[in-house]
């Protein structure tokens, strides 16, 4: 019994490493193609957005949760259910703004950035920008327009990675046509 559970854990870990290496290869290829850090950041955000708008359907189907009443609930669901389900980490929700429309997700160890060390010439690169895009895309499909960005990045010397989410408005119109 213990052998099979041990094996399952090891398999998951190996798949996790494959995911990390794949993402690393993706980022380094984007850098080779676009060369400028800003461009790469934008592309990562776009890719994250496309992932997010599709991932949210899968998430809704799997988690069976109802509607969230306010932003606080939304933040908790993102941190405790979504991140746990897809990346197997649980970021901490903190730093609520006074108007309760901004919050931070603190990731202790970002699985996307395992083994990664940013070289000097790419100090402006937001390595895990795909996460920002994914959250933005997913919440847009749920009729919430948000802005996401990285406040602190462990790859740039800070102790942990901090992702800031700011609520802009509730979308009541038809969904936007999509990014070009």
């Amino acid at each position: 019994m213990s052998k099979t559970t041990g094996r399952a854990f090891e398999n998951k870990k190996l798949v996790g490493e494959l995911f990390t290496l794949t993402y690393g290869a993706l980022v380094s290829q984007l850098i080779k193609d676009y060369e400028k850090d800003d461009e790469v950041n934008k592309q990562l955000d776009k890719m994250g957005y496309n992932i997010g708008v599709r991932l949210v359907e899968d998430f809704m189907a799997r988690s069976n949760l109802g509607k969230c009443q306010d932003l606080r609930e939304t933040a908790d669901v993102i941190a405790k259910v979504a991140f746990k389900m897809y990346l197997n980490i649980t970021p901490v929700v903190t730093n609520w703004s006074l108007a309760n429309d901004e919050f931070s997700l603190i990731l202790e160890n970002n699985p996307l950035a395992e083994f990664v060390e940013l070289p000097e010439r790419h100090s402006d690169l937001s390595y895990a920008n795909v996460l920002c895009g994914a959250i933005r895309g997913a919440l847009e499909m749920l009729q919430l327009e948000v802005e996401t960005w990285f406040l602190k990045d462990a790859l740039k010397g800070d102790t942990a990675t901090e992702l800031r989410v700011k609520f802009i408005k509730k979308l009541t119109d038809a969904l936007p046509a999509g990014e070009d």
């Binding site: 490493e17 290496l21 290869a25 395992e114 083994f115 990664v116 060390e117 940013l118 070289p119």
Partner: protein, 150 residues
């Protein structure tokens, strides 16, 4: 506690060499490491040819002491990808045991693996990773520090 640690690529050029801080001529160590490569090559080729039970098992691992010289002992370790780690230890350092050296090589190997997994590291180029430097710095003895302890 080594005096010099070197990582050598498959094509036998150095990826990383680090010596103890206050050594006068690092060049001497570079030379020592370079000459020890011949011994490494000999050991790799010899284990390939022998068909005894124990020998092929050692291919991935620890090569042991390569050769004793007047002041230093040199240890080698080869991986399956032909990346070699060479460690130079002072001959007067009698506390260091075989198991210590093996565990140091294992740690070096793990640190090297982390470096290779970094998507920004170009395979075959010099290693400039801070994490790797930290691991190596932890292993290189500092002569001045040793005197403080004794």
């Amino acid at each position: 506690m080594a005096v010099c640690i070197a990582v050598i690529a498959k094509e036998n050029y150095p990826l990383y060499i680090r010596c103890s801080a206050n050594v006068e001529d690092e060049l001497k160590f570079h030379f020592t490491v370079h000459t020890s490569l011949d011994v490494v090559e000999e050991k790799i080729s010899s284990t390939g040819k022998t068909s005894t039970a124990g020998a092929p098992d050692m291919r991935e691992f620890y090569l042991g002491q390569l050769y004793p010289s007047e002041d230093y002992r040199i240890y080698g370790y080869v991986t399956n990808t032909k990346v070699k780690f060479v460690m130079v230890v002072e001959a007067s350092n009698t506390q260091i045991r075989d198991n210590d050296v093996r565990s140091m090589f294992r740690r070096l190997h793990n640190a090297y693996t982390s470096v290779v997994c970094n998507p920004f590291y170009i395979l075959g180029s010099n290693i400039s990773s801070k994490a790797f430097e930290k691991v190596v710095a932890g292993m290189i003895v500092d002569e001045q520090k040793k005197e403080l302890f004794t």
